[in-house]
Symmetry: C2
Subunit: 328 residues, 2 copies
């Protein structure tokens, strides 16, 4: 069985962990968002790729995939003492090694796909065994999301990471500006993964900051429309995000939806992705049991979409495949 998963952020990484756990025999490709990537201190940082890699590789905790369990920040502290501009970006020492290798390899002319393969050789393979997933950056082109926020001197566009980590996502963005995405092309491997899949799963990552950017590439969108695979989206759980908690993943997700003009409900997000018969990408839309959604051309199914534990994520992954197989 071939499964392609669209992945971004912590929700995406957790869900991918569930897919890998639930279907150990499957041939799984993860198409990972790169629009959150950023260059800080001259280092190319790929948060969504690395969160997935570290989580699947057992280097971080399922509950806190953005933080190494015993992460030191010695380099970061020194950078701050030098007064380095981007010291607002949280870099664990261990991550710096990953970023050094990536930056050096990119500078040497390797593609992000090739570099990702090389990094995953360490985390996803050991003693002949390999985690049954291939992490694919959605594109080898350089893409970055900027958010437009109001300041005292008028609207200003800042990198999404600067907004999240320097501003603490306190200022609601007016709009999102995608740098590089209009000319970015998905890699051939990404297109093949979608075309050859039996199932395509759209993870419950942030719709604005993770999934919409993957879907924004015309050739990738077209491949999703054309694939023989059944496409199942999983609604991100957002109902429990209190309005005030800007800096939480849910707060950030909500701000992003607001900037897109999409309500923070499963129905609105599902309609934003759209049904395959209606120019969108969904066949099925998996939402919370106490929720409802009416989306043209899409079969809505319900399940437990919370992922507090790895076991939860595996159950959710199985529910998505069951729905698509008509076994829900």
């Amino acid at each position: 069985m071939k499964i392609a998963v669209l992945v971004g952020g912590t929700g995406g990484a957790r869900f991918l962990h569930g897919v890998v756990t639930a279907f150990p025999q499957a041939d799984i490709s993860a198409i990972v968002n790169t629009s959150n990537d950023v260059t800080v201190h001259g280092l190319r940082v790929c948060p969504d790729l690395d969160t997935a890699m570290y989580l699947l590789g057992g280097a971080v905790d399922f509950k806190h995939p953005n933080t190494h369990p015993d992460a030191t920040q010695t380099v970061q502290a020194e950078l701050s003492r030098y007064g380095a501009e981007a010291s607002w970006y949280p870099l664990a020492d261990r991550e710096i090694a990953t970023n050094l290798i990536r930056t050096q390899s990119l500078d040497a002319g390797y593609s992000l796909s090739e570099v990702t393969d090389a990094l995953c050789d360490r985390w996803l393979a050991s003693e002949g065994e390999r985690v049954n997933v291939h992490l694919l950056p959605m594109t080898n082109a350089r893409c970055e999301t900027h958010v437009v926020v109001d300041t005292e001197t008028g609207p200003r566009a800042v990198h999404v990471q600067q907004w999240r980590h320097k501003n603490g996502a306190q200022t609601a963005p007016r709009s999102l500006v995608q740098i590089g995405l209009d000319t970015a092309e998905p890699t051939p491997t990404v297109i093949d993964a979608i075309t050859d899949a039996d199932f395509v799963l759209i993870s419950p990552g942030s719709p604005a900051f993770s999934i919409a950017t993957i879907l924004a590439m015309p050739r990738l969108h077209a491949a999703l429309v054309a694939t023989k695979a059944t496409v199942v989206g999983i609604a991100p759980v957002i109902a429990d995000a209190a309005d005030g908690e800007h800096a939480t993943p849910h707060g950030v997700m909500r701000s992003g939806l607001q900037a897109l003009g999409v309500s923070a409900t499963a129905e609105a997000i599902g309609r934003h992705y759209g049904g395959r018969g209606e120019g969108g990408v969904l066949d099925f839309w998996l939402i919370s049991m106490d929720d409802s959604a009416d989306i043209a051309g899409v079969v809505t199914v319900s399940g437990d979409v919370e992922m507090a534990t790895p076991a939860d994520a595996a159950v959710l992954a199985r529910a998505a495949i069951d729905a698509a197989s008509g076994q829900a």
Copy 2:
């Protein structure tokens, strides 16, 4: 009083510390060797500049200036786990911050002189007080010393840092190859520092790996010949280096001298630098009390050239200036 000091390696950094301590009112310029610089993991590393900066800034111990007192190597350990090629080069986490800032600034088009000034702003200035020394890279051009060693497949040139840290300086070099030094120009500030000095002091750094590379630049050499300053060289203490201790600074110094065809004695090294009247650079040559040296056109003076403590280094610095002032 204006003093220019030619600096390289740990001996050079310790001696410079002594000059700064002994002459707190002097205007001191340190002309620092850059031919030990190396790029590892995409980071530009300047060992001689940084050893001097850290030692003067109180960040490292006088006895072990190459090691931060509580240095962690988390990034280094991760790089090794990735199998990164240059993981033989010892990088403390704190140094990585320095190297990141330097590399990023060089990539942005700043010169090494400008970058060094910016880095020293942190270490050599605090609350309006500034350590009375200006650290000057000898050139802004990129220079690197390679050593030619015999291998099973014939002679091979490797970077001096690779030879020191990967090979442990075990294989005696046949010869030294200087990359970039033939076209390197000293900066105008370096030439001014020599021309305007009352005293030029040649520190007891490694003759082959630190001092000879500074002297190899024709315009710098000419400025030393022409300056109105009195030039005093301090012989590196090498008599106590047992032949077998390749990896020690003295062992490395001895191997370098051997590659240059210079005996490891104060007299031979002094003759290698030469008297100012004879096309060389020395007016005075300060050697160990139990030693002797006969060098054409050079006044030999003796003193305690060991530098076990900061106080020793200050005494040695004063002895050098006293000799040049006719007060020895």
